[in-house]
Amino acid sequence: MSVELTGAEITIRCLQEEGVQCIFGYPGGAVLFIYDELFKQDKVRHILVRHEQAALHAADGYARSSNKVGVALVTSGPGVTNAVTGIATAYMDSIPMVIISGQVPTSAIGLDAFQEVDTVGITRPCVKHNFLVKDVTELAQTIKKAFYIASTGRPGPVLVDIPKDVSQQKTKFVYPDKITMRSYNPVVKGHARQIKKAAELILSAKRPMIYTGGGVILSDAAAQLTELTQLLNFPCTNTLMGLGGYPGTDKQSLGMLGMHGTYEANMAMQYCDVLVAVGARFDDRVIGNPKHFYNENRKIVHIDIDPSSISKRVKVDVPIVGDVQDVLKELIKLLKSENAKPDQAALKDWWKQIDLWRERDCLKFDRDSKIIKPQMVVEKLFDVTKGDAFVTSDVGQHQMWAAQFYKFDKPRRWINSGGLGTMGFGMPAAMGVQLANPKGKVACVTGEASIQMCIQELSTCKQYRLPLKIVNLNNRYMGMVRQWQEFFHGNRYAESYMDALPDFIKLAESYGHVGMRIEKPEDIEGALKEAFKLKDQLVFLDFITDQTENVFPMVPGGKGLSEMILV
């Protein structure tokens, strides 16, 4: 008979069995037994953050950049409520994560005990699934289920709530090899007849367009997407979540589409006759007003693993439910075997039209400015890192400039909170990225407002010697809020000015990091080079940028894709 283990030992053993190397967390009363077991082993490394929100973002960045399941460990009550923002962030972007939370002892549940919250209730709408483990004999199987659910189908965060007494109780430890659940069987294979229909539609296209989202990244299908796009010589656009799915520097890439997408991408979306949507969900920031987007002459193929993403906002003609990588492979195989090509003369005319749209040069900005233009900083970052960095961002103007001006050629290099739009995401996510990619160059493009939402993590970076490069585009405003106020609220800048900013240089230095302030355009490149030379140091680069710069193009809320405000 095998020896009996405590719930806490079982928890750690399960993580080891899952091959988890790194978890992010913060201890507290309800998880002390689990922390005690962490202490006694060295297979699972624990990264101590300074706030639970950061634990979630770090686990999230770890997952996004590595395609492993991110794991976070937090205590009951405030530990969980602090984590909720991070859980919701991961949920909106379908990131595979397992969150282990402590709970008050089962005998105290429901009695308003110290540090008690209804964790399962609070997190229910922002997890893929959650569990409260009331019996230690169910613990191992529940954790196995959590990893299985988090990482299969459309991925997402799964929370396992473990009451303190359950972590103390003992039982035999058996880790199941495999889980089968009658109520959860995600589809993988696309329907062959639907794929055939898609191929026919693709071959009939005169003005084709490929539109891809985060599903391509999550499914590791960048290679297949690239093959398909180049096989057909079709234009390709990526959503904010899909950047890197198709090489951004390639001539067939039209860049990002959507609210701040390029003129050519948005116009091609609007006027194409066959649209192939891959792992994307036609959300409000991507297509603007769905009524304006609707065009009865445009046929749409939609490949997605989540049936509920299909025909949610836009009716489609050929829905294909399945894993993006698998469906693309089948589609490529079919197209190759048919040995047919779409109308090449029409395609040539379509590319001519696209090139005319490109000539609009929608991302132009004043390159001779005496004040630092934020776009220039991102461009130089791209040059200095040779396009090979991992770039995380917070939320706002800097996020859009990073997405527009850093041309991502590889998947899992662009890490941002696209769905929930969580300020404070960038730096903790970058910590996770750096831990998953110890040799990678990791830059966090941020702004002086966002960075302050998780600024305490400079301490975590010091403790674990994470040599992030913080690229702070400091315009002394919540830039995107100010932009909207300028466009839509009569220049009344209500509460969007960032007064009483800290001296970021001194702040960085006080945590033991290096700080640099850059005020002249000619110093951008040198500063970035110097920062990346400091391989073992976190460098906080505070770029003092133009306060009046806005993000263009812009599709105002409620407008259509072809109704962009252009610079």
């Binding site: 399962v120 209730g121 229910r124 709408p125 893929k128 699934h129 409260l132 659910i149 659940m181 009658r182 109520s183 959860y184 989540d306 049936p307 509920s308 025909s311 949610k312």
Partner: protein, 155 residues
């Protein structure tokens, strides 16, 4: 769906979070005690009902869903209604109850409690037929539905 704590709140939470309507909801364990069966009545366009179905399917504890409107089905709802019954009204209400195939299951010198089963519309019709002031209390289960003939929902 799985007969597990919290499954019902996931369904209810989904409806409120996504702004769908629940007209009625009736749920109980089945002959297989690990499973519960729920009949949920909602109102919406075909698109909305399609989304509701897809979203419900995504819930991990939901095993299988059918839209009973996709075929012939039967639905029944149970209502217990307590009515004031004194003097000549007693006979009248008794007769009305018989017409609606109800049965009187509790009697006092001032009231009857009537058990009625039928479609929601039939129960509404009964309440219309009884004078409003006579109705003291009603309790309804919400509809339970089942497909006709060989149309079987089984896991």
């Amino acid at each position: 769906m799985e007969n597990e704590a919290g499954a019902l709140s996931r369904v209810a939470g989904l409806f409120s979070a996504r702004g769908y309507n629940i007209e009625s909801l009736s749920v109980a364990p089945t002959e297989d005690p690990t499973l519960s069966r729920m009949t949920l009545v909602t109102v919406g366009s075909d698109d909305v009902v399609e989304q509701v179905t897809k979203q419900l399917n995504k819930l991990i504890e939901v095993v299988k869903i059918i839209d009973l409107n996709d075929g012939n089905h039967i639905e029944r709802e149970l209502m217990l209604v307590k009515v004031r019954a004194t003097g000549p009204d007693r006979e009248e209400i008794k007769r009305l109850s018989e017409i609606f195939r109800g049965s009187i299951i509790d009697v006092t010198d001032k009231s009857f409690t009537i058990e009625l089963t039928g479609t929601s519309a039939k129960l509404d019709a009964f309440l219309e037929a009884v004078s409003k002031s006579a109705v003291l209390e009603t309790v309804r289960t919400g509809a339970s539905g089942i497909g006709r003939g060989e149309w079987i929902l089984k896991v």
